[in-house]
C-alpha cells in the first residue's frame, strides 16, 4: 500500500497503457482471425459463393448463386410407415406431409439453356405436423464429383470460363481431374449422361449420407433417393427452355409421383465420402410416395424464399460426418442472405431489375 515513489507514474503508466492496448488488439485480432479476415486463402462460405457467382457469369440479383434456373412445385409426401422402424421422424409414419419443392439445373446463370448440363436437381421441404422440417437438395447423379468443400472450390476454379472462348479451359479441367482421382465415378456417370427432356422422368439422389435414429436412439447410416413412376424418358429437344413447359404439361394431366427409397448402409460403408456409392446389394426401403401436384414460377412461387439447406432435419434424422454437408449449409445461407438482401434493397446490394421476368414459364 505504500509506494515509495509516488511520482514515478509516467513510465509505469506507459507500460499500463501498452497493456490496455495489447488487450484490445489481441481481442480484436482474435475476432478478425476467426472471421477469416486475416487468412485470405482459407476457404470460407463467402469465398465459395463468390466463386460460384463468377462461374455463373456475375451477379444475377435475387437469384440463387447455384442452381439459379428452376421452378417451384408443391404436393405432399405419403408415408407408408416402413421407415418408421429406423427413424422417429413423423414424416415416415403412415400419412401425408405437405411438401414445397423446386426443380432446377445446376449453375449460377438463371438463363442457361436447359441442355447445357446433364444434371437436374430436386429440392424438397417437408413441413412436419409437429412444426419441425426436413429439407433436402438432391441431384440426378448418384455420386458427387468431389468429397470435400476445398476440392469443390478447386473444381469451380478449374472450371472457370475462358473469357475468349466462353468455355472452360480443357487443360485446366484435365489437370484438376488428374489431381483428383476421386472424381472417377462421377466422370464415368457424366460420360453417358444426356440432358433429359423432363424433370419428371429423373431419379434424384440425396448423395450425402445421413443417420436415421429410431425410438431407442439406435443410429443407422442411410442415403436416400426418389425414383420416378414416369418412365417415358425422351431425348431433349433442341431448344433452350423445355423443362418447365414439359413439367407444366405433365402436371396439367395429373399428379407426378416418385418413390422415396432409403438405402441402409452396412457397417463400414463410407458416410464421409459422397464420391463413393454404396454397393448395390444394400437393403433399400420404399419409405413412401412423393406426389407433386402443381408448379409455379420461381420468382413468385412458394419455393422462392426457401433456403434448401440439407442440414435442416427433423428429430429422427441426423447429419453424418460428410464434410460437404456443413459446407453446403454455410454456403447456402450466404447465398440466401445475398439474394434476399437484393430483394429487400439492403444498401450495398444490387437491386434486382426483373428485366427478364421468367414470363416464359
Amino acid at each position: 500500500m505504500h509506494d515509495p515513489q509516488p511520482f514515478s507514474r509516467p513510465p509505469r503508466n506507459s507500460l499500463r497503457w501498452a497493456l490496455i492496448a495489447a488487450a484490445v488488439v489481441v481481442a480484436g485480432g482474435a475476432f478478425a482471425y476467426v472471421g477469416g479476415w486475416l487468412t485470405p486463402h482459407r476457404l470460407t462460405a463467402q469465398r465459395l459463393v463468390d466463386e460460384l457467382q463468377r462461374n455463373g457469369g456475375g451477379v444475377h440479383p435475387g437469384y440463387r448463386r447455384n442452381h439459379a434456373k428452376g421452378v417451384c412445385v408443391a404436393g405432399y409426401f405419403e408415408g407408408d410407415g416402413k421407415a418408421s422402424a429406423y427413424s422417429t421422424a413423423s414424416v415416415f409414419a403412415v400419412g401425408r406431409t405437405p411438401v414445397v419443392g423446386r426443380f432446377a439445373i445446376p449453375g449460377g446463370n438463371p438463363y442457361a439453356p436447359d441442355g447445357s448440363v446433364p444434371i437436374r436437381s430436386l429440392a424438397l421441404r417437408f413441413n412436419l405436423s409437429d412444426g419441425q422440417q426436413w429439407r433436402t437438395g438432391m441431384n440426378s447423379m448418384p455420386v458427387f464429383p468431389v468429397a470435400t468443400p476445398q476440392a469443390f472450390y478447386a473444381l469451380q476454379v478449374a472450371g472457370e470460363k475462358d473469357p475468349a472462348t466462353g468455355k472452360p479451359e480443357p487443360a485446366r479441367l484435365a489437370a484438376f481431374f488428374a489431381a483428383h482421382p476421386e472424381t472417377a465415378a462421377f466422370r464415368a456417370w457424366a460420360k453417358t449422361a444426356k440432358p433429359s427432356a423432363s424433370f419428371v422422368t429423373e431419379s434424384y439422389f440425396g448423395i450425402d449420407a445421413f443417420y436415421f435414429i429410431d425410438a431407442t436412439g439406435q443410429r443407422q447410416a442411410v442415403r436416400w433417393r426418389v425414383v420416378p413412376e414416369a418412365t417415358d424418358a425422351q431425348p431433349a429437344p433442341a431448344s433452350d427452355d423445355y423443362l418447365i413447359g414439359d413439367l407444366r404439361q405433365r402436371l396439367a394431366s395429373g399428379p407426378q409421383r416418385w418413390h422415396l427409397l432409403v438405402t441402409l448402409a452396412n457397417p463400414g460403408d463410407p458416410t464421409d465420402d459422397a464420391t463413393k456409392a454404396w454397393p448395390n446389394d444394400r437393403t433399400t426401403i420404399d419409405a413412401g410416395t412423393l406426389v407433386l401436384t402443381s408448379e409455379q414460377p420461381q420468382d413468385s412461387g412458394p419455393c422462392r424464399d426457401i433456403n434448401y439447406d440439407p442440414t435442416v432435419l427433423p428429430a429422427g434424422i441426423a447429419l453424418s460426418d460428410d464434410p460437404l454437408l456443413p459446407a453446403r449449409s454455410a454456403a447456402y445461407s450466404d447465398s440466401y442472405l445475398r439474394r434476399t438482401s437484393e430483394e429487400a434493397h439492403v444498401p450495398g446490394t444490387t437491386v434486382p431489375t426483373h428485366a427478364q421476368p421468367e414470363a416464359s414459364r
Binding site: 500500500m1 490496455i20 476457404l43 462460405a45 435442416v312 459446407a327 454455410a330 442472405l337
Partner: protein, 199 residues
Amino acid sequence: MSTIRTTFSLPARVLHWTMAALILAMLFIGVGMVATVSEKHQWLLAIHKPLGIAILLLAIARLVVRLRNPPPPLPADLPALQKLAAHLSHWLLYALMIAMPLIGWAMLSAGGYPVMLSHSLRLPAILPENALAFAWLRTAHGAFAYLLFLTFLAHMGAALYHGLIRRDGVLRSMVNGQARDPSPQMPDGIGVVNGRPTD
C-alpha cells in the same frame, strides 16, 4: 437504500462475469460459424441458438437486478464526457444483449426456419415467413454483432483504464465486493486488487 453502495451487488457481479464469458463466446461463435465451411459450422450453429436464448433470459434477469440494486455511482471527479460515454455504452450493451437474441429468433422465423434449440426442442416462430424481413433482420444481426464487439472492446479498454491508470475503484467494484475509498480526491490512490497491493 439510505447508503450509497460502492460496489456492485453479488448477483450483479455473478451475472456480469457469467454473461461476459457467454457473450464473448457467442460473438466468436457467430463470426466463426458464418465463415467456416468445416464441420465446426454445424456444432457452432447448434450452440449459438440455445446460448442466445440463455443470454436473453440472463439479460432480463440482469436488468431486473440492476433496477433493484442501482450500481455504485461513478467517481465524482470523472470528467463529464467520460461519464456520459460510460452511461451510454452501458445502456447500449444492455440494449444489444437483449436485442440480439430477439433479432436472431425473429430472423430465423422470418426465414421460415424451424427455431430448433436442440434436436427436438423447437421454439415457436415470432414472425411470419417473410424473406424481406429476413434480409433486414439478418443484416441487422450481423451489424449489431460488430457493434456489440466494438462496444465490448471499448468496455474492456475502459475497465482496464479505470483499473490500471485511474485506479479509482471502478474496476474493483465489479471484481470483488470490497468497498472502494469513497473520497474522490485520491484518483491515483494505490489500488488494491483482490486484497493485494498492485504496486
